[in-house]
Amino acid sequence: MKIVRVEEVEEAVRRLSMEVNYYIRDELKDAYKKALEREVSETGREILSQIIENVELAAKEQLPICQDTGVSIVYVEIGQDVKIEGGNLYDAINRGVSKGYKEGYLRKSVVKDPLFNRVNTGDNTPAMIHVEVVPGDIFKITFMAKGTGAENMSRLAMLTPAAGVKGIRDFVLKTVAEAGPNPCPPVVVGIGIGGTFDTVGWLAKKALMRKFGSRHPDPNYAKLELELLDEINKLGVGPQGLGGRITALDVRIETAPCHIGALPVAVNLDCHAHRVGVWEK
């Protein structure tokens, strides 16, 4: 049986909070560069160059890529043969977030109550924590710093089976087109299809947390991911919504079985500052 100590978890989360905010992953940086090659709008090219310059500066000086260092989303996959020792897992994650956001000079962007008492908690906790039990003895943490500019432009619809692929496609295109400049395009698009009202939003988020550029294992969905990417890039939104060919950098879909009468879909947008990191034991 594998043992994971809560101190290790806390330390991993502390480090991830800072790392994802300072350093962009190589595959994403490559995507910026490819986008710059393909963009035809002059303003669009200028913005893509600024994005590249910004991530280089952020890494060099260890400054947050974006001032919205986000709400912390922590997805934990625990193998059923793993034992957690030393205390409460959720508390350890929140301690890691609190330390990381304080030590790393990151912005604290969480209020303790959504409606009546919008007071900043002061350390970016609580994190949004999702725990899943999986076979085997892996222990994996995926950390995402999620800004709200893109999160606020995300949408969910309870379509019906007759809507089919066309219904999904139209809903995705409408969401991205209407979001326009607001989610800081070029965006990354996470799509959840299937499940129920509660699960489809999480599927979309999981799609965003999946490896950049990875394809759905089912070839039908893998093809749909690429087709949607192509169509989104025909919308004309462009970098910062000022017009151009590059509106999205990647589209990823996660799916689940669903009711005979349902076709839920959720579109979770993320910005070009697409900050995700992984720790595994």
Binding site: P64, Q67, Y105, R107, N120, A177, E178, K234
Partner: protein, 195 residues
């Protein structure tokens, strides 16, 4: 052509700004976002005195990260402007002449800019580290208890923005998308509106 401006902005400067113009701002501007706007407008509605005189001024929608030792400010890029749309009219009535943010404004607010002769600038979203280098000084002038949402006076030098809405009407986003859209959509694109 690049235009250079310094607040307070007078009518002559505003007349001259056109959608798409690249502008460099030098001088003092103020930061404010959701929670500060709420307080501003509550104060105005109660007939109270605002902590800053808005006449001719520029407000930058930003909530920066805390400064590292030796820095005047942390990352400081724009936040989504539309969230401030429902507060816009009283702010413009109080004399505010320009705002800086990212993303589009509700159509109702685009009309208000014409009515009150004010402009809307955009700065590039998501490049907060880069933008922070244009801010030479920062001090809190109101609502310190709001943390990252406190109102600050920012001394900027050659702070780069683009005119998105001017006092003559029109909208940079609509024009941009029209130019590059290569797909026919079976639906109308509605602008998400907050007013």
């Amino acid at each position: 052509m690049i235009k250079r401006i310094t607040p307070p902005l007078d009518d002559k400067v505003l007349e001259d700004l056109r959608i798409g113009d690249k502008v460099l701002i030098t001088g003092k501007i103020y930061s404010a976002r959701d929670a500060a706007h709420k307080r501003f407008v509550e104060t105005i509605n109660k007939g109270g005195q605002l902590p800053i005189d808005l006449r001719g001024q520029i407000i930058y929608y930003v909530g920066p990260t805390p400064p590292k030792p030796g820095y005047v400010i942390g990352s400081a890029g724009p936040t989504t402007s539309i969230r401030m749309d429902s507060y816009m009219e009283p702010m413009l009535k109080a004399g505010l002449k320009a705002t800086i943010g990212k993303g589009y404004r509700s159509w109702g607010v685009v009309d208000l800019f014409k009515k009150y002769r004010a402009v809307y600038f955009i700065a590039t979203g998501g490049v907060g580290a880069l933008i922070s280098k244009k801010i030479k000084n920062a001090k809190i002038v109101a609502y310190e208890d709001l943390g990252p949402e406190a109102v600050m006076e920012l001394e900027v030098q050659d702070f780069p923005v683009i005119v998105a809405n001017d006092i003559h009407g029109g909208d940079i986003f609509e024009e941009g998308v029209k130019k590059y859209q290569e797909i026919t959509l079976p639906f109308k694109i509605e602008r998400i509106s907050e007013v």
